[in-house]
Amino acid sequence: MAKLKREKIVPHLKQKKVLALYRAAGKVFSIQDFIKKFSSTLAPHERVTIAESLKLFPAQGSRLFAHPLTSNPGIGISRERSSAIAIGSRSAFITKRHIKLKGCRPIPDLHFPHEQLDFGAQEMLTQKIQFGSLTAENTMREILAFCFFKKHGIRVLHAPVAVFEYVFKNRSLGFCLVSLSPTETRLEADEDYFGLSIADLLSIRLVEKELGVKSSLPAEVGFKGVGQWWYANEKGKLLVSMNFNGGFRGILNSNLGNDLVHQRKLYICDFDTFRVLKMPTKPSEKFICGFCLWSIIELLKSSPFILEYADTRKLAQSRISAELWSIYKKNSSLWQSYHGYFFAEVRKRGWSVQKFEKAIEHVASSKVFSEMILDNLLNPKLLAETYKPELSFYVPQFM
């Protein structure tokens, strides 16, 4: 794939806080009708999970919308009365109605990179997707995740109620998932970095090392008003339950920005790259390796930042990820919680603890792991290899 240039995409990412909504050309699908038309985008065993859960969606569909709504005036036909709050770069939340429109901002001919790690693969694949909306498969994967969470009794916050398909100049611009959501306030909004700059953190840790003392700076980033161990325990339990039933969010969705706390319960959201593995009763070594790689990569991507600085300048390339991994494991309360629940599940199933331990250490030697672990704590390689911060795709998900 030709490399997508950050400079071309970044100017389109920012939205106004309050968005006007416009009527767009296209179609409104009920969830049942959408499933009938697009379930072939999923694997056969994933379709079974959906088929078992059809009763979760009304047969007549939702009467909430007569026509698609968009936040992009460029493809809008007429202005609607309602407005919405921007969520990230492509979604909106109609606060009064508790309705989330995920992917309601398609921009014709603008594409966005999509990173994927196939099961058993050691390297990520980058593809390009339409910017601002969802593909049919992305939308089906969101619906699949909802069915999967309900089936396994795992908490889920967003309930899909309809799908918009946008049509512009006789061509489909993709889909928007309409969900009911009690809140969109993300936990990320309360992340606490203690006002530190990069240099402050570096200085604290260097001075500590030189003097052989410890300051009162915590080991990892926390959230204001949320207990660190409560968070780690709830999230570790939730992720292990999802993973050991075969559910994985994929790299793009495994983002700390997708954590929410509602009525004192922790939720995760965003499942457009969600996949379900067929879980064997007796896993092969190949399966164990693939399973551990997916689990660890998603956990790293979703972990609070470790407030440490690893001076890896004198280390050989092959030693850098081992050093970062060791510091991460020692300091991440999420890792410690996840690890505990993970091995409790392995033992419960009568699987070999030794094989899983070996596979987890094997994961640390993969290329994808060495790329991902760089972002979990401050280190010279991360600072040297990063892009300019102003070219980041990051847009806050919270209001």
């Binding site: 530190l196 990069i198 260097l206 300051s215 700390l256 600072l383 990051y394």
Partner: protein, 55 residues
Amino acid sequence: MKRKRPIWRKFFEKTLARVDLKPIEPIVSQHIHTLQKQSVVDPRMSLKDFVRARR
């Protein structure tokens, strides 16, 4: 604009009130300077903004 007192000093003042940081400051400065030369990122950038820019 004059920069506020670095927060890491506050941490140290709480826990290490009697420690003299002066002898260590050149080591820290040199380290930051080396990294500054190798990176497109300004070390004075807020850690929160940097971590989020990498998400």
